[in-house]
Subunit: 319 residues, 6 copies
């Protein structure tokens, strides 16, 4: 490969787990079977981007057993390159999701401690690949998993900067992994090196105060483009010059999990295609809306239907 | 059978397919199983009429294999006479339905080309039966399937006229089968011989212009009673004397496909029972509303529950 | 056991059946499988109370075969003591539920005649247990099942009074079992001996007139605390001194059946915990709301989530 | 209908039930769902005959509710005429089947007492139909259900005799319904009027002694052709002149229930087609063997595959 | 409780896990769902004993979340007392089972490291209960889980000896948990204190040499009754006086896992009932044979069917 | 890519279909759902080879709709490169499989006429890729699909010869596609250019006479290595010098379809690894045996378990 040849549009890395959930509205206490889905913030983004036509690689550690191979097969199925995965004899992290119905909340229980992915180390990966990538995507989950995961994330950011590869960073605050104070320090370090930072407005308020806005964060994070998502209310962004905003789509929700990752994928796809920030927000909203209509973390979308939704809006039946 | 003995209340003919759909909101791209339902506009009408107590015969061509026999068995199960079906060694038409959730549309993919039904010819059937029927029901789908299907539809209309058997004709425009211009010529020929013509108001506007109304169509089609359906908004009709209208029912929709056929069945049942046109529209709306609460093309209704809905309106639980 | 030692917080008795329902919105006419749930008003209350941490015993007659053992196993699974059940060689009552979608009603068909439970007699049980209980719960269904069931219910009330054990009585009027007039006589006898009487406001109006209110019933039933439930509109109560009221929760309903029993359990749990009547109504509403989000008659709840709902209200996702 | 016109090749009557069984090897004690099949000795025979191309009518009483309509729909699906069924407001008999695996036996639990079918009376049916039938088929189950069922069976035999319609009678001894002594008296009465009597050799030995053979029974039953079935070992028969015998097929059994009824259908089909007794036994064995490869009481066979099995024997795959 | 009152027939303790297996012969690499069963050697024994009518308590540590509560509910369902379980905030051990078909082996993957049960400590339990038990059952799995588990097992043995409660010990060698040498030392310590020691002959040969027999082990373990199981070939035993042997049953195996535990339960049940050792082996074989016909680790048996199998042998159908 | 760089170990091309089969032993006539599997002789080989660690590309035409994308996703999931597939707007070929049980045969019904794959043409593919491949695998199915498919197969063979890439050719005779005479002419043309020819001994006898053996075929096909498969009886081969033979494995068959393709993959994998022909036959037998234990056409194998089976033989459970 010549030194500046592009092999991947996007490289990302992180932990991906089995998501085990009782069918329908059944409870874990009494269930007889579990639906198996594959979920991880970064791999969700990777899959949606690959389905939108981008060349995407995902790096992680996986155990070389049935569950680990299942995760790799799922990513391959959707077109993501998993050749950089590091295989070991550990365990796959899992999480249980019990779907509620208002007023009963959907509940998530993690069983991810000591997973193979939590043992990710910088030396597991071939960093020379980064200079053949157009973009690096990271989230705030990975650095919270373990010290070696934090080191791996740091290394990724520094390699990208060294190779002039833009970095997107989604805060993805997880209260079960660390405290806001612990998270904030790491966020400042990593988001401060990023080109685009994406965060749920809800998390931003929790961590930086109810009055914190995109302008504040833009400054805090050394001029990064700041994108704030507001679930059904769409998204806003500030790039240092203009405030842009795009409303969300009315959705009859089937499964909420993974919608934020789908947003990221839509946003990054549009940015990689050279679209302006406002249109990228609309792409993010459209991909997120489609994901919400599907069971599982993964946005099983096609580029044509995203474009159709953006152009024509919703329709009831196509025949 | 004596020459004027009535054997069937309604005779109908057309193509019926296997409808294959992934369970729940699953996508075709990733599904591991398909739910099998049976659907065809005319057989949907036939089944609902049979369940409402009418003697109904359905004619078609079916392949003499598992899928073909499945279709015949399904019609028999609901009480439709399939003894006039012509069996061959062809293939059963199929269509795939992928259920969406707003803003993701439900998508229909047809795989019906070269089906056994598309080879229907006038000589496949014993036309002397028509004079022992009280009514003939046809749709605008059959003549679009092939030249021999068009010939068969024409023959049916002419035999009915010759025997003084009233004919209902539901336009059922299918954009994947022909253009509005192709369709319009055939519609004029067939609807012009019909006693009752049913059309979706949406299709009428597409084909005859946004201002076209029931009066225009009544005239265009030689005095046929014209019934226009408006989905959730109910139906209107004009019989040359009076404009009648009936509002639809509020429905929590389970599956939209087949609602128009259910409407036809309710309408025809009421007309055959000698009810006035306005009440026939209400019957059509009630049967359509019940169909919308069920998975599959078929209205698995009972006459008593239609009458209960018409008399008492909706109720949450009966125990 | 010393003479005043408490063994059970609550004792209850009644009929429990297999509830057989086609999956989804499928109809009994065409279904290929039936979901098996266990349902009975008193055992629903018993299970929810046991899950909330109370020691609960349930008495009944069950056939010593697969279906009968299934019922006992289900109660045991949720922590209810079934050691007092009387086993015979009869049949388990069943009922079929066909889930509708508006405007199609959910339909319940009973097949409970001549069930083992309908043969319950006073001599089937060891009445000395009652004085080791803190509470007795009965419903108006049991006395409607048979003469011997009526005798058993009477005996229970009299034993409780003799042992100074408070009694709750839920009218639970079932039109398929008896007429309002038949029911009213029995209600007066039994509710007149109860400490707390619970009734659906709808049933009260049917039986005692549209103007009948909690004050009237309090007087009619010799000073019992009267609790009237209003489905989504919550509940009201009168204890001879104060009128209390608690609004219901907005719920996205999954399955309605059993919500009234869940209300009873929440109410009784709070009363047994010494909470005031108003708070007991709120407990009843919370448990009922959670039950409505689950398939089946049974409220598969945990005390912590009831308390969370009462304290924090509804939330979409917990992770 | 002219007085000697044939409307049905075979008329039969009896009770048909819902057969409810846990999936796979699951037990009733712990199951969460039940597979629904339809089973009744006479309707099993009727269905297999209809599938083999005969015109068949089945008479019974059914409740006019979901389960009852389900039974009628299933018979119609397979081509059996159910227009002679008498509808009431009773209950459908059910039976539970728990599939074992050696050494655990498959277990059958009946819940059929007081079913609609058990209330069958002679006056429920239009006996004039019998003279338009080529054959009447009865079993020894119906007369065991109730006094009125016995009367109905008697009436059927007498009407057939009066109309010179041959009668087949399958003993089908059921130990849960009556004792051998009770059964024997009725068998002698009914089999003594039959043209063909079919019995499991096992039952014959139980009732008439280990040494009883087809010749003895031929004499006992006034010269009826006697057919004795021996499960996997095939069948033997004696018609007063010749002893014939046909070996069974080696089968990998999927579900045993209904194999005897399938044998009856094969036998009767061949006899109606004018085949000699030995070939009729072979037809019986072939249809029974095919039924054993299917879940459920019903032989979902096609005439072509019966003929293929008879002509070519077993094959592993056809493509 | 008076000091010598018996509360439980059998007390046991150990780890119980969720067993997650793809349906049918599906592989973990590609599965979309997992069947959930509950399995643990000691709880399997506990459940089978409870189903045979014994009063049984099971002690362990479980996480207070859905999976942990599911395990406790399953034991309660089958009649086991779980009131002595110690609840924490840990994780439930799980294991994956992928069912093969010869020549493809069934494969088991454990994910049990750091489970709640592995943190069991002597101080988690109220040891005064032991003197109210008739029997203590332990296995060689628990001491292999962790140092604190080993301490807990030791404590149990010592408490039982102090209270003169007989102890059964099943070696249950697990090669994934420790080496033969590690295991042997612990076995000698624990089996040397036991009344009855059960082992697979296969394991005995692996650990003590191909020539080791029951007499050698009887001596090695201070006079314990030694029972050796040989899968389909039944079991042998030596009590210091007599060699007894009982052949296994021919079985059409549905699921092998848990058969050894079922054997233990049959054996212990018979010994507790005062039956001689030879008959106890036969009980062990019968319960094991029935378990082999069921999916899952658990023997969902009834005492009557065990007795029927012992008395009558296998039968194909009971109706 | 430099001119002699190897990109793929194996290239193959052909038609892949959706295989739709009723669950269990259900029949097409009555089924309510279909299991979806993906099957095509060449893609089955490609998948098994990729799972064994080879770099494999598969070429075909697929419709750009849900079913077509499903096929591509399945191949990608198992590691096959589908970037050379030509997409169109046609239909995906399907076939129905109804699983029998002896004596009822498994039945296959094809609905593949006019599929996208049948329109494959030489100009759909970039033939320059062949010189970067180590091996080309073809079957006798593709040339039977259409004239353009025959042309494509011919072109592939000629390109491979020109690039000195060895070719394997599996006759795979399909009686529903052409007659033996039609097939034989094409076989001679293509097999005559192949390095390795694989055929079922059964087909060879059908086409070339009962006495035809591997030596005859070796000569007929210009010195190709001839491999004859005999199902359970293993395989034999002749390479012009030595006759080699390898016995099959005893298998408890779950699904027969695809076993021949699995054999091919095992054989080719071993040959590519430089193993001698006899060992390659053993590899073929081992992969075929594992495939037979799985539902579906695809051998979801791992290299380690093939090696384990070859080295250790069958084992019942691994834990």
């Amino acid at each position: 490969m010549s030194s500046n040849e592009i092999k991947y549009d996007v490289l990302t890395l992180g932990e991906t787990m089995w998501r085990l959930s009782p069918p329908g509205r059944e409870r874990l206490d009494t269930t007889r079977s579990l639906d198996v889905n594959v979920g991880g913030s970064e791999s969700n983004v990777a899959i949606a981007l690959a389905r939108l036509g981008k060349r995407v690689a995902w790096w992680s550690r996986l155990p070389d057993n049935g569950p680990g191979r299942h995760v790799a097969a799922t990513l391959r199925m959707h077109g993501v390159d998993v050749s950089g995965v590091c295989w070991d004899n550990g365990r796959l992290g899992t999480y249980f999701v019990e779907f509620g119905s208002p007023p009963r909340p959907t509940q998530v229980i993690y069983d991810r401690a000591n997973s193979s992915a939590s043992h990710m180390r910088p030396e597991d990966f071939d960093w020379s690949v980064i200079r053949h990538c157009r973009w690096l995507h990271l989230t705030g989950i990975t650095p919270a998993l373990s010290a070696s995961c934090l080191e791996t994330t740091r290394r990724a950011v520094h390699e990208a900067r060294a190779a002039n590869v833009p970095v997107s960073f989604d805060l993805n605050y997880r209260a079960k992994l660390w405290t806001p104070a612990q998270a904030a320090a790491v966020y400042d370090e990593l988001a401060g090196c990023a080109t685009v930072v994406i965060a749920a407005e809800r998390d931003v308020r929790l961590m930086y105060g109810a009055n914190c806005n995109a302008h504040d964060l833009h400054e805090r994070w050394n001029g990064a483009v700041v994108v704030l998502t507001r679930s059904a209310d769409g998204a806003i962004a500030y790039d240092g010059k203009t405030d842009v905003e795009a409303p969300g789509y009315p959705v009859q929700v089937v499964d909420r999990v993974g919608a934020g990752d789908a947003f990221d994928a839509g946003l990054l796809c549009a940015l990689l295609d050279g679209k302006p920030l406002g249109e990228a927000l609309r792409w993010g909203n459209a991909v997120a809306a489609l994901k919400l209509t599907m069971q599982g973390d993964i946005a099983v979308i096609h580029r044509a239907e995203v474009e159709h939704l953006l152009a024509e809006g919703s329709s009831a039946i196509q025949r």
